[in-house]
């Protein structure tokens, strides 16, 4: 009838459950995650932000380079908080010792349950993708992004690559919720720590426009900015897609341009971060030889992405300078 009833060979050489069990567990976790009302509250709040960004001309109304397109992924900030909480809660469902004991006696181990839950990150990621895809459609319908104000402006269409950052950032939030749950077995403490992390990563978005923090951003746009002096030459200005003249906030001209290479490295960094966090969650869920490759792959990706960004992007090396 089932694998459980068919399995009668007590001398079975295997020590872990098969992929089909982990797959079934992942499908169950995906179902539970997709039904979580907190996640949908996050979607609704993100929808509200998307509506605001689409209607107040953030991307299409011509804003200073550090104010408009820099907010490209900000619409998924509420979804990221919801994803963190949902991941943290789901990982702590088995917090009561009685529940943990009940599950201890099943063939699937805590490691398998954690892996299945991590795979459920696909749910908030897909929702994040749909939200940013909606924003992309709205922006393209209005003629594309208008970057900069005044004399030196440009208009362009966001690339499909720029649809990946938001879902990756949301998935990272979900996975970090699971990882934190495996480190701190308290939903209350998890919520407080997650709140702080969310505010630093998502709410204080200006932080991630400066070096060296921008290299470590979980969410950012493909926009690269730099202060180009108080009286930049025409050749210098021509290097940038848009330039803001000096004003009361900044005594230097600020240039901005889309750099998909740096953005691609940023995406690699976030993938690496997701893998590192997943590796931490798995390592804290019991021994399994598959944990190490996940952790190593994540660390390598993070190191490569961070290192290459510092190498290729001059602005990344200027302490507290725009990047």
């Amino acid at each position: 009838m089932t694998a459980a009833t068919e399995a009668t060979a007590v001398s079975a050489p295997d020590t872990v459950v098969g992929r089909s069990t982990v797959g079934a567990l992942a499908r169950a976790e995906i179902r539970y995650t997709a039904r979580n009302p907190v996640l949908w509250l996050g979607v609704a709040a993100s929808g509200l932000v998307a509506w605001w960004l689409a209607t107040d001309g953030t991307f299409t109304g011509g804003k200073p380079v550090t104010d408009g397109y820099a907010l490209w992924e900000w619409l998924v900030a509420p979804l990221a908080l919801a994803a963190f909480l949902v991941g943290n809660w789901a990982a702590l469902r088995e917090r009561p010792s009685t529940t943990a004991e009940l599950f201890t006696n099943t063939p699937a181990r805590r490691w398998d349950r954690t892996l299945a839950l991590l795979l459920a990150a696909v749910v908030p990621a897909v929702l994040g993708f749909l939200l940013i895809a909606g924003q992309w459609v709205a922006v393209v319908a209005r003629g594309g992004v208008e970057l900069g104000t005044g004399r030196w402006t440009s208009t362009f269409t966001p690339t499909p690559l720029e649809l990946l950052g938001a879902p990756l950032g949301v998935a990272c939030a979900f996975v970090s919720g699971v990882a934190l749950a495996r480190l701190v077995r308290s939903r209350a403490v998890g919520a407080v720590v997650g709140f702080v992390g969310w505010m630093i990563v998502w709410v204080t978005f200006w932080l991630w426009l400066t070096a060296p923090f921008g290299v470590f951003a979980v969410s950012r746009s493909s926009l690269v900015t730099a202060e180009i002096g108080t009286d930049p030459s025409a050749a210098e200005i021509a290097r940038w897609a848009a330039v803001d003249p000096a004003d009361g906030f900044n005594d230097q001209y600020v240039g901005g341009i889309r750099d998909l290479g740096v953005y691609g490295l940023h995406l690699v960094y976030v993938v690496g971060l997701v893998l590192v966090l997943a590796g931490v969650a798995l390592a804290r869920s019991g021994r399994d030889r598959r944990t190490r490759p996940v952790l190593l792959a994540g660390l390598v990706l993070v190191a490569v992405a961070v290192g290459v960004q510092f190498l290729v992007h001059e602005g990344a090396r200027a302490w507290l300078g725009l990047m």
Binding site: A45, P78, A188, G194, V196
Partner: protein, 201 residues
């Protein structure tokens, strides 16, 4: 044994050990850490960082809404509101001390806390506590800080999202009015959420 025989010292002594102090400590520590961030961050967000720190600190106050022994103590002679007050009397001084620490750290970091710090803390803590109590009453398995984080995070996004034409409407276009509205809404929520479950509706 009637409630008058359970004096405040005994009630506070009994309440202290059951409170989830870990969350209060985490909130206080995190708020202090956030307050210190401007020392290493670009100066653009100095003012906002302190607001965020107050929000974090307030989320810790929501543990006062949790009543781990609600099922058993719900029919005890000491009423719900008296028990809540006991928890608040224990949590708020700790949170207040953390707020004083934040003010000191902010001064050291050169970001100088404004006079709005205490009213903001009072208003946001009131909201967090009321949300924590309401969550405990409606869904006992949801910790207070979790509910508070959802509401405060949502509020933060809302405040940042609402057009100036809405935020600037006369009933709430000053700090005093906003604090007042927050306290009134919290009080109403607290009154509703701390009704005696045995009382006739």
């Amino acid at each position: 044994m009637s409630s008058p025989s359970t004096g405040w010292p005994a009630l506070l002594a009994a309440t202290g050990p059951v409170l989830p102090w870990g969350a209060v400590a985490a909130a206080g520590g995190a708020a202090l850490a956030v307050t210190a961030l401007p020392a290493v961050l670009p100066p653009e967000g100095d003012g906002v960082v302190l607001v965020l720190a107050v929000l974090v600190l307030a989320s810790g106050c929501a543990v006062a809404g949790e009543d781990p022994a609600a099922r058993e103590a719900g029919v005890a002679p000491v009423p719900v509101r008296r028990r809540l007050l006991a928890r608040l009397l224990l949590v708020l001084p700790v949170s207040g001390a953390a707020l004083a620490g934040m003010a000191g750290v902010a001064a050291l970091a050169g970001t100088g806390p404004g006079s709005w710090l205490v009213p903001l803390w009072a208003a946001v803590s009131a909201i967090a506590t009321a949300v924590g109590v309401a969550a405990q009453r409606s869904t006992p398995d949801v910790p207070g800080p979790v509910a508070a984080v959802v509401v405060l995070g949502g509020g933060l996004v809302l405040v940042a999202t609402l057009p100036a034409s809405v935020v600037g409407l006369p009933p709430w276009d000053s700090a005093v009015e906003r604090v007042g509205w927050a306290l009134v809404a919290s009080a109403l929520l607290l009154l509703a959420a701390t009704r005696d479950p045995g009382a006739r509706r």
